[in-house]
Symmetry: C2
């Protein structure tokens, strides 16, 4: 029965492909690989040792990746009675959390525009550009937050 093995290989491959995409958009490679390994894993949770083995990276790399992943809310430590090892798990609603965090960038953009407008006033060339920018990011900030809530609601409702 190596049909299972083949499926596992496909799963791991899909995980690696996504990790590559994510690292191309700025995420650290080891971090992305740990994240997708947990996402595509057959297991409910994985230990640092599991991750080392599966990804062929050092314990230090795993530790660093986890350190980034936990505060962003994508991964969490799972209780594992009777085990001294930490068990990690992909967190439920991680995507909503992740997108919410990205809104911090929207804030930065708004702030930057605002900063510029303190100096120049809307009737100048940079003023016009910054005014549009501020308008855009102000709008996005508000609407994105609402959108995430809307998704959560909708998803929870669908789960019944």
């Amino acid at each position: 029965m190596d049909e299972m093995d083949e499926k596992d290989a496909q799963l791991r491959e899909a995980a690696e492909r996504l990790a590559l995409t994510l690292s191309e958009s700025g995420m650290q490679k080891a971090t992305a690989r740990v994240m997708t390994a947990l996402l595509f894993s057959r297991h409910e949770t994985m230990t640092a040792a599991d991750l080392c083995q599966e990804l062929q990276i050092s314990t230090g790399a795993v530790s660093g990746a986890v350190k980034q992943l936990i505060p962003t809310g994508i991964v969490e430590r799972a209780p594992a009675p009777g085990s001294r090892r930490d068990h990690y798990r992909f967190r439920e609603h991680a995507w909503a959390t992740l997108m919410g965090k990205q809104n911090a960038l929207l804030d930065s953009m708004w702030d930057a525009a605002s900063e510029g407008l303190k100096v120049v006033g809307k009737d100048s060339a940079p003023g016009r550009r910054l005014d549009e920018m501020q308008h855009f990011y102000g709008f996005m900030q508000r609407e994105m937050a609402a959108l995430i809530d809307k998704w959560l609601e909708q998803y929870e409702a669908g789960q019944d």
Copy 2:
């Protein structure tokens, strides 16, 4: 009258700060600096030489940055009758365009989830995670596109 100079300095500083933020979220540093220089510039347009001087980078770096910025729709070549140099300009509605492009990432996420679900089925551990993921990104794809349209409409209306 060095009040002007001081304001210029503040403007450039704000530009550099934003460039730094952007480079921290994955954009190439020179690219980010060119972009913010154009955004915060007092001038309507800038030439490659202007950018070299202001940012203290090589012509090659400017050329490379522009090469990235133009296809993404953030910057455009501006007609400049009587000048042999190319003039670059921050594009109107660049933000909406930019965010639209980022939706390509949402597509990738949806695809990755879909890929995994082809292998495992929703009743497994990875299946449940991937199902939520697919649901989330499918939702976001649709709603984000709508949101950008809504902003454009609203902004155009406000301009009258």
